[in-house]
Symmetry: C2
Subunit: 191 residues, 2 copies
């Protein structure tokens, strides 16, 4: 499928409101079928995803987000909860079968937590750009109560919430002025 | 610039060897000019980037990487060190000027460390896909000595190494068999 760097980067904007246009479950499946190919350490792919789009699940989510994010989550047809499996190493015999990568992580919960945050965030970046490639707009958010989120959505599992991201068709009238970025000289070195 | 989901996701492969073809500094600047627009929490953009391509800098880097990554780094025309500024909040008055976002992080080093890892990893995901959009191949790596890396490249600063990523034109003969991924049903829920 054709896309462009304008669609992915330079013309894309974080959304603060959404038009009442549904996102089909098939589109969410298509989204995952792109995101899953993005590289992660030892092919661990620690991200787990809950696509919240039913009224009941949305109500549960609305009870966990910061006041400033309530309207965005309410308007968006889908908000994806990007989770990270802190026991991702249990999948490594399947995902990285040629060596015993499970042993690299099995006795080190701190190493797993760091690797899960790093690699599920990488996957979150893939999700945002894959969604844009599919013509969706994104509104990533970190404003929520992590303990409430984990209890509401990941109880009884080894998954914790990393961040959340609204998906839909943005309302251009609600896009804010674009903030500045660091220049190449401020952020980069050629060594 | 036109690209495709095949180029970014489904046909792209992690590289283990590189053809001896240079990457122009202008391409690295063009890369940053895409990556910088990717969304981060409070527009904090905590990633800092060192593009290692001179023989002296490459030697320094080779002294920090795991044995399994030496040949890849040696062959690649560029390896980018993705760093994260743990004092990114000092840039927030410039990057997120409409509220005092600096205060959200100023007295909480643990919150800064988590946010820096999350958001610089998101930016790392943007980098990998932007590089692919520009026709480059990528080889992201976590196998290095973090303390050595930080001493060699970020001494006297508040930046720490997150991960590294070789950039160049891959040698198709050295690409490994593609590993399996979790199915939609294993990784996702529709709620």
């Amino acid at each position: 499928m054709i896309t462009s760097t304008e669609q992915l980067f330079t013309a894309a904007r974080t959304q603060n409101g959404y038009r009442p246009e549904a996102v089909a479950d098939d589109t969410l499946r298509q989204l995952y079928e792109l995101v899953k190919w993005g590289p992660t350490a030892a092919n661990s792919g620690p991200a787990r995803w809950i696509f919240v789009r039913s009224p009941a699940a949305k109500d549960k989510l609305l009870g966990c987000v910061s006041p400033g994010n309530v309207n965005k989550v309410r308007e968006a047809p889908v908000t994806v909860i990007v989770g990270m499996d802190l026991d991702f190493h249990e999948q490594l015999p399947k995902l990285f079968p040629h060596v015993d990568a499970r042993a690299w992580f099995a006795n080190d919960a701190a190493k797993r937590a760091e690797s899960a945050l790093r690699n599920s965030s990488l996957q979150g970046g893939y999700l945002i750009l894959a969604a844009r490639a599919l013509g969706l707009d994104c509104g990533p958010m970190s404003g929520f109560d992590p303990a409430k989120m984990d209890a509401a959505f990941w109880a009884g599992s080894s998954v914790k919430t990393n961040f959340i991201c609204a998906l839909g068709h943005g309302d251009p009238a609600k896009v804010l002025q674009r903030n500045p970025r660091l220049s190449f000289e401020e952020a980069c070195q050629l060594a």
